[in-house]
Amino acid sequence: MRLADKVALITGAGSGMGKAAALLFAAEGAAVAAVDIDEAAAVEVAREITGNRGKAFGMRADVSNPADAQRMVEETVKRFGKLNVLYNNAGIEGEANLTANFSLEGWEKVIGVNLRGVFLGMKYAIPEMIKAGGGSIINTSSTAGLSGVRGGCAYAASKHGVIGLTKTAALEYARRNIRVNAICPGPIATPLLERIAGFQKSREVTVQSMGANTPAGRPGAPEEIAKVALFLASDEASYANGGVFAIDGGQTAS
């Protein structure tokens, strides 16, 4: 069991990559705090884990809200006694508009969840990891953290920013045995990508066709990201710190 005796908090655990990671981490022995803004989805994922004799609980949190971010960490420590792994995965795509047409509300929403939310998660989790003698933080960036995205100025700004957060925290806490890494998924078949495909006016754009544009010729599966997160969460990745891992079927190489 690659995460035996570890306690992992996963945000955005109710669907997509977060859900896949919650199930995989639990199968590898972790006690999982499944956090999502959709409480029913989080609870359902936790139920699936406990139904398979794993350890988990589900709870609601809006990661952009400091009180919620603090509470999710406190609740995890209260239930499982410590915190070893934080997977800051909750994210939203936001509106699709060119930079000059993007709305102020849309900007605040995307930056709030995707950037402020990652900062707050780290801010409250790090003291617990220091108490535990170390830990691993995984932040979900995106290929949009490495390149521009038409119609997604706030999304690209937030995902670029996540890489800045990752590298800075990695250096600050390297001697405290806390590792901080970022994953940059390409097009992964998740509810979020389905919504993005829905933005396109042409009906031909689907999750499949977005994946077809990568060198791999297909979208990734959430489980293919979860396996990378598992590696980064585990002690196998003990020398991986401040890394930015593009898991994108070759997209950023092209």
Partner: protein
Amino acid sequence: MALLKDKVALITGGGSGIGRATALIFAREGARLVLADLNRQGAEETAAMAEKAGAQAIAIQCDVLKAAAVEDLVNQTIKQFGRLDCAFNNAGVAGDLARTAESTEECWDFVVGIDLKAVWLCMKYEIAQMLKQKSGAIVNTASIAGLGANPLGIAYCASKHGVLGLTRTAAVEYARIPIRVNAVCPGVTQTPMVDAGIAKRPKMRQTFEKIHPMGRLGRPEEIGEAVAWLSSDAASFVTGIPLPVDGGFTAI
């Protein structure tokens, strides 16, 4: 031939440091200038210096965090000079020195507001005007902290990385117009912002000098020269790039 002859250029954070030095280089290169700063006196001083150098220049006090103020800034530029060719979105703050777990939400919101959101707000209204003209060149001030870690300044690092996301996105969105959008990534530069940091921790000067292979801090005008080039037609096929001007910092 002057690099920016007859161009109308808007510079935020024009009242000091890199903004002021860039204004004077733009003046030398023939641009007409709108100097915006939260500090009215600083902007007016820079305008006077630019005029002394033979350029037309006006100073406008502006809080770039407020959408209405930024919109008005662009409107005033058009009222004064009739167009907007170049924009240098340069206003920025450093924030408190603290590790991630000790960083406050207040500091986070302050730094991300000015260093990231305000850059987007400026672009939003500048681009609207440039679309009418079907041309324009924007330069955003990122930093070496937009390309790598920045211990004790996580909000600054997140913001400056984010500026590169904005820069690349707007560059691809408006490439066909063409509106060019680039970023300059200064190393640690001898400005009032950096001086304020060094005043708090004098040993930081030596550290700053050591981290640059050239063994010294940058001079504001060394950043300004790069901005003038990126803003000019000499860089007509350059868009979406982060240009480090950092004494070799990012080479190691």
